[in-house]
Symmetry: D2
Amino acid sequence: MEVGFIGLGTMGRGIAANLVAAGHRVRVWNRSPRPGAAPDGAVLVAQVTDAFAGDAVLSMLANDEAVRSVVLDSGALAAAAGSGKPPVHVNLATISVDLARELTQIHRASGVGYVAAPVFGRPDVAAAGKLHVVAAGAPEALAAVQPLLDAIGQRTWPFGDEPYRANVVKIAGNFMLGSAIEAMAEATALARGHGVAAADLLDMLTGTLFAAPVYKNYGALIAAGSYEPAAFALSLGLKDIKLALAASEAVHAPMPFASVLRDQLVDAIAQGDGARDFAALAKVAARRAGQDG
Amino acid sequence: MEVGFIGLGTMGRGIAANLVAAGHRVRVWNRSPRPGAAPDGAVLVAQVTDAFAGDAVLSMLANDEAVRSVVLDSGALAAAAGSGKPPVHVNLATISVDLARELTQIHRASGVGYVAAPVFGRPDVAAAGKLHVVAAGAPEALAAVQPLLDAIGQRTWPFGDEPYRANVVKIAGNFMLGSAIEAMAEATALARGHGVAAADLLDMLTGTLFAAPVYKNYGALIAAGSYEPAAFALSLGLKDIKLALAASEAVHAPMPFASVLRDQLVDAIAQGDGARDFAALAKVAARRAGQDG
Amino acid sequence: MEVGFIGLGTMGRGIAANLVAAGHRVRVWNRSPRPGAAPDGAVLVAQVTDAFAGDAVLSMLANDEAVRSVVLDSGALAAAAGSGKPPVHVNLATISVDLARELTQIHRASGVGYVAAPVFGRPDVAAAGKLHVVAAGAPEALAAVQPLLDAIGQRTWPFGDEPYRANVVKIAGNFMLGSAIEAMAEATALARGHGVAAADLLDMLTGTLFAAPVYKNYGALIAAGSYEPAAFALSLGLKDIKLALAASEAVHAPMPFASVLRDQLVDAIAQGDGARDFAALAKVAARRAGQDG
Amino acid sequence: MEVGFIGLGTMGRGIAANLVAAGHRVRVWNRSPRPGAAPDGAVLVAQVTDAFAGDAVLSMLANDEAVRSVVLDSGALAAAAGSGKPPVHVNLATISVDLARELTQIHRASGVGYVAAPVFGRPDVAAAGKLHVVAAGAPEALAAVQPLLDAIGQRTWPFGDEPYRANVVKIAGNFMLGSAIEAMAEATALARGHGVAAADLLDMLTGTLFAAPVYKNYGALIAAGSYEPAAFALSLGLKDIKLALAASEAVHAPMPFASVLRDQLVDAIAQGDGARDFAALAKVAARRAGQDG
């Protein structure tokens, strides 16, 4: 397929490479020039409108502001709508439910297909083509881009016709991730205070009852006290928790764990740990207990 | 080995049966008479002192009060200490760190060996002999009872010489379990408010990033809204969270997630759900969001 | 003075009347037509630009969106800037710190004086001219409008040159108000559970240690269980708590009480109490305890 | 009247002196010898049984453990019960609801009158005889000791026949005090982050909406950052919050503010501030925001 790809950050690079590897013709574009960021075999284009064309365009942008800027304010979507055969837009980003709903309406009005397909997985998982893709959108649009989703992930999890619901699932999942980290952080501070080493505690628990990828990955970082370089920055974790808080308020759902996460993450940022890995949340629990963590 | 076993509740019955199955000679005792509770092949004795004898005695009691009453106030420990060859006492219960420390001192003073060996697993896991056993105590005592621990669990995780540290690990693990349930509860309320069914959300997340036993087990209960009969009652969950709060205060470790859990569990009990499964915590998040959960 | 007044809600009406009573010539404007809302002696004008003129214009609008719409998007500020002698704009609204900073820059760039002057007091206090006014802005602008502030309040509390700081103080104060209500709510549920009537508890405490206006006013509502009509709606309380959370995140200040308030207020709204008085927050604590509150 | 007085701490000394000043004959006793602690005109006795006699005995002890030790374990109550004419015991301490209920039963069984009369006020207020006394107990016992309560306080607030209800009111009030401090702490951190000095913020708010004694007293300490010497130690504040949490669990009342207070106070103690004034809670909010507070 003829595919555009927008956003060559740590996640986007690996995803784009997998599209190339699957035999698609890929034009890539990035907001800031990143020499060498384009994967081998992809064509780097100078204008976002050149990427927002073809059979489909996948965008992997950092947040709501970036999506607004690149997709809407740039005129890229409007230009595509005015072309003879607009691409289906596959939005891989973790964005707010509000923006997801707005984008759905705007795409529909402009005649451009729209699929929300946020992904679970850290950069190494993206590079390996092993992401879990949560997808929602009109059935025909979803069917059209399924080969692309197959190229970037190990499995696509469909969540129906309404794109924003895929975003809700992604937001809920990231909230659960943050909660798992905080739970390990508090458990570790408790145990350390009583003379049990973090590694001993977490090896046992993440090897048994909590033998799941997120616990193993983040538990290993906490046990090692190793928070740099960040695979997923703590400040992005706060962004996601705020998405959960906003989405929950819209449907009147209290989320006291999300509220605690907000405060612990703000604390971490105040101490200068915003650019460290999300797992550095564990430093807050340790510091508040008067421990070296 | 000659083994005493105290406490024939839902957990104890299966554990005692596995000791019999492994070829040990087992005398069992329970506080309240439970006709038929003694596993085939075990001998039901009338006095706790008759069980607190032999090579080893395992006790599986509900809480601090039960342990105090049965082990200390009954005179069982004192009687064993006065016998020629006291048994090693293996305490399987989830008890407070304070009581764990006190029991260690009392056993040491009385010359009775003491191993703390709290277990992870619900009653069906206990019956299958697949528990994870967290054990700590003097090396020789631990070595002496290892065959018994092998009979009841799939693996023993040693945590050193100080018995109370095994209890800390158990308390930390149960806190993490409660946190996992609450995280799923809030995520589910958020998703449900946006039209995503609990089962769809939890199937995806507990099949991927959170593919761990506790998420799968409790996630299935939440997805089904099925909270009876309780494998592990919500009111016992509150007991364990209170153990975490007490143990954390002793070492000055704030635990904001544990505090949230306390309040959500108290809320659940106020609405009459104390005897339902720990997973019924999810009803609180749903009810607070104005949802049928 | 020649004074424009924008916003004839429950607060604005009383404030405008006090400006008339102090001898000023007042032109009033409201977004939606409110027949009879203009106080006697004031002139109702048809265009917002007619109110945004004279020596000064005071605006009392509901939230950030209303301020943006009426002051910026309407062209009122631009029109005033283009006139020969623009008025000083006194913004009485409770708005976000971000918007306060933005408005300061826009006014400065356009040459229109700007004073932030949010007020403390419920509608009856506004009608009585007894508000406490928190004011910040350029000294000459502040001096120019002081007679107007004197007419609407019992006292002006100056907070320096930077307008946004007055908004910070207002946000901090409303957060403390919400905290006082929640504290009374929890204390009341605790006491009621033990057989102590809400009125008995609150009469004692708000008559002694907590003998302050907010405790007496809101305590009386909680004791009476009387939440309608709302002098200050619970949903506006949530708006203010969200302003506190946003302002605190900007300076990396965790606010766990504000986070609890968010969740309790969201809970209240989910149960249909958003239009009741802020004091209806007490229903959440009662309901969660299984009490009729 | 012939009065015994037990407990010559910072509060007790002033209270005992006021009893002497009112013309009563006072015998005083303290657990640890405190040379010079007995007020002029009082008689220091060597045995607690010598103080637990006469028309009435007032005890002002630190916590549940001290009350159990001095009143029950010492045999003082039993000795008084066995005398011809036992005194009415007035318990001024802040104790748990559970112990309050137990003491009521024990006194009743022994035939010794019992009044719970916890007091509000810091040591300087106690010395001035201006305490607020919250009293509950059998009407005849209460009437008998009213002259003594009049001597130590500015007003007695009766809460009926059941002594424990007075303790509930005291616990609820101390929880509200802690909440007021935390609310000021968070508001101050928010404002400070935006360039508003703590003193400016708190002067305004505690001079207007929050013009109540506790806000003025503790607000002044926070504004000055002056936490030593402690009039009421932070670690005692945590004790009282734990009483609130225990009492609330007994009646199934969630108290999320109390839970936050627990964690903030534990944090403070971990940083070494347990012996500083309760107002040092404000250091936690400041430190977590990365501020010097």
